[in-house]
């Protein structure tokens, strides 16, 4: 017989589909790409409205920050396995090269350490090869209502 109350386990594939439907993520066109234990990948498809330089067609850096904020945020819940409301405390982004015009950018967020109140994250944004990233990020989140575990 199946458990009538199975324990809730955060499912990034399902959550990403809901969270990227509305709001800023929806406007950006963010989409679920992949996940594993403690990491999540979201996709940011290129489009003209998101360009930071009209002459070159290179994506603005703002959408990349948002992509990484969302991907790293979800990586925390993937590690904690439950949904805990939290807020970004800080985020540092190193821009290693311009994103290739026309290409979808993948944001890979990873939660590498979690404490009761603070989650430490890092991640990369890449368009073709994860070994040749567009950006690298590090940052922290804080559980705002309750604790991560």
């Amino acid at each position: 017989m199946s458990d009538p109350n199975p324990p809730f386990v955060f499912d990034p594939a399902r959550a990403a589909k809901i969270m990227t439907r509305h709001g800023h993520g929806g406007w950006l066109g963010l989409d679920y790409h992949a996940h594993g234990q403690g990491w999540v990948e979201l996709a940011l498809p290129w489009r003209e409205e998101l360009v930071g330089n009209a002459e070159t067609g290179v994506l603005a850096s703002g959408p990349i920050i948002s992509l990484m904020d969302n991907a790293t945020s979800m990586s925390v819940w993937t590690r904690s396995t439950n949904f805990v409301p939290h807020a970004t405390l800080d985020l540092r982004v190193d821009y290693m090269r311009a994103a290739t015009p026309g290409k979808t950018v993948i944001g890979r967020g990873e939660c590498y350490k979690i404490t009761r109140k603070i989650a430490f994250i890092r991640g990369i944004a890449y368009d073709e090869d994860p070994d040749d990233p567009v950006a690298h990020v590090t940052g922290t989140f804080m559980a705002t209502h309750g604790t991560y575990f």
Binding site: G23, G26, L50, A60, I65, S66, D69, R92
Partner: protein, 131 residues
């Protein structure tokens, strides 16, 4: 403002609010386009506004040099101090140091009270003079 906002900023609704001591104050109205979790401004949208305000402040400063300077962002560090709520958000950059090769710009974002910033950012950009 001599510099025009890129397509991303215009599409998101970022605009020049006014000039303050020579530095442009940019703003964005609250809408579903900038919403994060229910009732709050998305941290990424906040950061995007701050980056634009930082570049606008640097452009204003570099205009006085009389030569075309190209900017390339190196990095940004954002500290989120308060949740942004459903209202207009402002951001203003101040150029801490602009040399020949590198510029360091601090940016503050606030909503109803400029004395209560919701976020701080520090940006580093590489400068190059167009040949």
């Amino acid at each position: 403002m001599s510099w025009s906002l890129p397509p991303y900023a215009q599409a998101l609704g970022i605009a020049l609010d006014h000039d303050e001591d020579g530095a442009p104050v940019l703003c964005v109205d609250f809408s579903d386009k900038v919403r994060g979790r229910p009732g709050f401004l998305h941290g990424g949208a906040m950061s995007g506004l701050m980056e634009m305000a930082g570049i606008a402040a640097l452009r204003a400063e570099l205009d006085g040099r009389g030569e075309a300077v190209q900017l390339k962002p190196v990095n940004i560090q954002v500290e989120f101090m308060r949740g942004g709520t459903e209202q207009r958000t402002f951001a203003k950059g101040s150029v801490t140091r602009a040399g020949r090769r590198v510029a360091l710009v601090n940016v503050e974002a606030w909503q109803d009270d400029p004395k209560k910033p919701i976020a701080l950012a520090q940006m580093k950009l590489l400068l190059s003079v167009s040949e």
